[in-house]
């Protein structure tokens, strides 16, 4: 910084004058930096005197830019960036500037519904008041200035809970870099760990607690997670915010990303000219993610309509799946109800409601309010059973980032069932994955002609496979083993599931350096790896193995299932198998799989990359 000629810097007074009073900014800073003891108590942070690591700057913001477009205003198109430690920053909306401009131009009064043809109208809404709303209705006291930001978890929380957070430090590059304050030098063109030109943090982070970490030089930087707070449109804008956050977290695999205003447009049919700034349906979300090259699914350990199917241990299964997605770098959208987050004191929540435990302020009275949050991390210490699933970390676009929810709460936070809606979202997770990943972990619900269809997820498939082990010896004996076909049907509990992408082309970091494969598709015994001593040999063996399978194909997604004696490798790009409502098809599926596997060449059971 000392050698740089800074541009676009302003004083904190100028910044706060443009931002205007914003309670959310104080709350977020207090909860990130105000921890005064290890019980999570916080001392209030004063924005005016907060030690930002660099003077505020006027900088671009993908969110603010879209909102200016929404209002048809020339300004404010840019945000004020407040710089925090370790590369973190908050892009602030200039709410005061917006208010002044919008009031002057009468933007909010531009109501012209009457000119639209019937087919262009949105039949969900009617004009509420004869008088158009005023700008004051839009920019109320609860509005937040916090636009697209990159934030590190509170240091004390990170230390206490041993968090795994989906690390998006690589997004710094897209923001034009930031300031690295510890030694006072600029990392404008450098991002991630200073000693690693290619940051290790966004590359196969999933193996960090499964296998020893690679030795790193220098101080390790905390993870950074994108966060955005909804604007002055009420709770409805939270859906757009979580869609943005999920896309930002998976930007590497998305085809594009845009701001919240544009997301609203993308979730509507091009024919509709009235765009509802409100909660989005799962169908809206699916459509949006498809449009940006990602995929969202509805998954549950047990769907409410399946409660009588006798599925065992749904809580543990849900936790395992949630951890698998998060540790693989895939965020999870959770449909919920703000009232439950604030007040729920049912038998499953013997302690305090989620918001109370997290010291979130909320109104004294809150009706059932559909809401969405996004899981971005989890604890890594303690077993699932002992700790009731451990804790999961979520960002709430209506309150603040880095809140915790206990694993067992996830089954019970579902939103109220909308009128005329058949399907409940109680206990439903909506993981977001790269578009090519089709194989889910839990039961997946999808809709064909408004009819719910259920797809067998990997965890259930494996669990059922374990239950019926030994029933297929006839098939196993008839096939010709490659060398020695492992005891594939030996019951083995799942220890962990993680997703990786293998790439042959130019992205060697995607290949986890500690992958332990050298054999063939299917279960691999750890004993097969004896004699493979060095990391390079392991890498080489794994590459050879994959080349054998794919014969030079580009890149591919896998689920890895870790069991005590084996590591299984599952094709994540295959669509799952649909289940009828009553028939247990797993034995039939396994027989089909084994029959297909007859012979030395692996063949997918369905075309790769097919859309489900």
């Amino acid at each position: 910084m000392s050698d740089s000629l800074a541009l676009n810097t302003i004083s904190i007074d100028e910044a706060l004058a443009a931002i205007g009073p914003c309670r959310t900014l104080e709350i977020v800073l207090t909860n990130l930096f105000g921890w005064s003891d290890n019980k999570g108590n916080r001392s209030p942070v004063d924005v005016q005197t907060f030690p930002f690591v660099h003077p505020p700057q006027i900088r671009p913001s993908i969110v603010v830019r879209g909102e200016a477009e929404l209002f048809g205003l020339s300004m404010p198109r840019f945000a004020i960036r407040l710089y925090l430690e370790d590369g973190a920053f908050i892009n602030c909306r200039r709410l005061n500037t917006l208010k002044v401009n919008a009031q002057r131009d009468g933007v909010i009064e531009r109501c012209h519904r009457r000119s639209l043809a019937q087919e262009e109208k949105n039949d969900v809404v009617e004009i509420l008041d004869a008088d158009p709303p005023l700008i004051a209705d839009l920019l109320g006291e609860h509005d937040s200035c916090i636009a697209d930001s990159l934030l590190a978890p509170p240091e004390m929380m990170h230390r206490q809970l041993h968090l795994h957070i989906i690390d998006c430090r690589s997004l710094l590059k897209h923001y034009g870099g930031t300031w690295f304050p510890r030694d006072g030098r600029s990392i404008l063109r450098q991002f991630g760990h200073p000693s690693h030109p290619h940051s290790p943090y966004d590359l196969a982070p999933i193996f960090r607690h499964t296998f020893p970490e690679p030795k790193e030089q220098g101080p390790r930087l905390p993870p950074l997670s994108p966060y955005v707070h909804g604007f002055g449109f009420g709770a409805g804008y939270c859906a757009q915010a979580v869609l943005y956050l999920a896309t930002a977290m998976l930007l590497k695999f998305a085809s594009r990303i845009c701001g919240l205003a544009e997301i609203t447009a993308l979730t509507h049919s091009p024919k509709i000219r009235e765009l509802l700034v409100a909660g989005l349906t799962p169908e809206n979300m699916r459509s949006y993610f498809h449009d940006v090259g990602l995929r969202v699914t509805e998954e549950a350990a047990i769907f409410p309509e399946w409660r009588d199917k006798g599925i065992q241990h749904p809580e543990e299964t849900l936790h395992m799946a949630a951890r698998a997605y998060l540790q693989s770098g895939m965020p999870i959208i959770v449909p919920t109800d703000m009232q439950k987050l604030a007040y729920a004191r049912e038998s499953w929540n013997e302690r305090q409601p989620t918001y109370v435990r997290n010291k979130v302020d909320f109104p004294a009275e809150m009706p059932n309010t559909p809401h969405v949050i996004i899981l971005v991390g989890c604890t890594t210490r303690g077993t699932i059973v002992k700790d009731k699933g451990g804790e999961f970390i979520f960002h709430d676009p209506s309150t603040r980032p880095y809140l915790t929810v206990r694993g067992h709460e996830l089954l019970h936070l579902g939103p109220p069932i909308a009128p005329r809606e058949i399907y409940s979202y109680e206990g439903v997770l909506m993981p977001v994955v790269p578009g090519r990943v089709q194989l889910s972990l839990l039961l997946k619900r999808k809709f064909l002609d408004e009819r719910g269809v259920y797809v067998l997820g990997l965890i259930y498939f494996v669990s059922r496979l374990n239950e019926i082990a030994g029933d297929f010896e006839d098939l196993v004996k008839t096939r010709t083993p490659i060398d020695e076909w492992p005891e594939i049907l030996r019951p083995e509990p799942i220890q962990e599931i993680l997703m990786i992408r293998h790439s042959h082309a130019g992205e060697p970091h995607e290949l986890a350096p500690f992958c332990l494969f050298n054999f063939a598709y299917g279960p691999l015994r750890e004993s097969d790896l004896e004699g493979v001593e060095t990391d390079s040999k392991k890498r080489q063996a794994f590459t050879v193995f994959l080349n054998r399978i794919f014969k030079g194909a580009g890149d591919y997604w896998f689920w890895l299932e870790f069991a005590p004696g084996h590591v299984w490798m599952w094709d994540a790009e295959l669509p799952g198998l649909e289940l009828s409502e009553v028939e247990d098809e797993v034995p039939a599926i396994i027989r089909r799989l084994l029959a297909v596997a007859h012979g030395d060449t692996w063949t997918p059971i369905a075309g790769r990359g097919q859309e489900s």
Partner: protein, 355 residues
């Protein structure tokens, strides 16, 4: 033709003055002295106010060196337009720049597409654009070479209102124009501006901004604008209205290829100016050229640009011959320098750099 590298960033003239003035002791830090001016910044109001005979020096930072402190203030143009003295504004700019050459003006007038009933808003935008063209003409008389007025094509958003659903919920609703209606409105609103552009000889370069709410946002909308001009446009439209080929927007955000453009004569022949920066998958901000994309990708576009102006009919708006390195709200001088140098190097390697 060979191309000139110019610079477009969010400097106010006061800041430029700080660098460019011979008396300031500072050296202009960029290898090009051609600048495209963003009209206008907050600090510019100090420079251009009627009482200001000379530009005032920028505020000094606490450090040893001067700090450029622009604060983007697009509405400054409205205030200057009310003053209605383009000659004095141009004279002040000329004095401020101390040896730099203005090759273009750049702005963003979103209100241009406001609903018909908000005449005050869209007429104000029209006046602002006309004023800028007049400033450009005055600058040219002072020896500058203003060859384009670049502006964003506007938003499809036509208003916001509060609605209620049948269950008692309240929601804001955005009204949007259809793409065809938005283009028709844009053309109509630009008509008087194009008349002035014809008089001043400064073409208008429409910017493509990617996103579902922008009027000019894709190859299809570029074609629609071209088709509209051809089929329904006035003589002023046809002779002055063109496109700004923003390489990062067209190539990396809108996924348009140089081959697409080369094959579309109606679009190619209306390219009147160009910007260069780098983007990845979203408009987070401008990046240094080569930050996200291979240099080879820029080469193809620059080669195309070197050809678009050749043998163009005098009945069409002409190409500026300049590629402006764009870095809006840059964090510091170094990144802008780096982008200018990267662009110059690519052009030099292609033997397309006008020295």
């Amino acid at each position: 033709m060979k191309l000139r590298v110019s610079l477009l960033t969010s400097f106010c003239f006061n800041g430029i003055h700080q660098f460019a003035s011979q008396n300031s002791g500072e050296r202009w830090p960029f290898s090009t002295r051609d600048v495209e001016l963003y009209a206008f910044m907050n600090g510019d109001l100090d420079v251009f106010s009627p009482s200001s005979a000379r530009p005032r020096p920028a505020a000094r930072s606490s450090g040893r060196r001067a700090e450029i402190r622009p604060i983007l203030h697009a509405n400054a143009i409205r205030r200057l337009a009310l003053w209605d003295r383009p000659d004095e504004v141009a004279a002040n700019i000329h004095r401020s720049l101390a040896g730099l050459r203005v090759i273009g003006l750049s702005t963003f007038a979103a209100d241009l597409l406001a609903h018909e009933e908000f005449k005050l808003a869209w007429e104000s935008a029209q006046k602002a654009l006309v004023f800028l063209l007049q400033v450009g003409r005055e600058l040219n008389q002072l020896g500058h070479e203003v060859r384009a007025l670049e502006l964003v094509g506007g938003s499809q958003v036509d208003g916001l209102w509060m609605g209620g659903d049948r269950y008692g919920g309240k929601h804001f609703v955005i009204n949007r124009l259809t793409p065809a209606l938005a283009i028709e409105r844009l053309m109509r609103r630009l008509q008087p501006v194009c008349e002035v552009a014809l008089e001043t000889g400064i073409p208008i370069a429409l910017e493509l901004e990617v996103g579902p709410l922008f009027t000019v946002s894709s190859l299809a909308s570029l074609q629609q604008v071209s088709d509209f001009i051809h089929a329904q446009g006035t003589d002023a439209h046809r002779r002055t209205l063109g496109f700004n080929l923003d390489i990062a927007h067209w190539a990396f955000l809108a996924q348009i290829s140089p081959q697409d453009v080369a094959g579309l004569q109606s679009v190619r022949e209306r390219i009147v100016h160009a910007h260069i920066s780098d983007h990845s998958k979203g408009h987070f901000g401008d990046g240094v050229v080569g930050e996200f994309s291979a240099r080879g990708e820029f080469e193809q576009w620059l080669e195309l640009l070197s050809q678009v102006g050749e043998n163009r009919s005098p009945e069409l708006p002409q190409f500026s011959g300049c590629v402006s390195v764009e870095y809006e709200c840059a964090p510091n001088v170094e990144v802008v320098q780096e982008s200018v140098e990267a662009t110059s190097e690519i052009l030099r390697n292609l033997d397309l750099l006008a020295e």
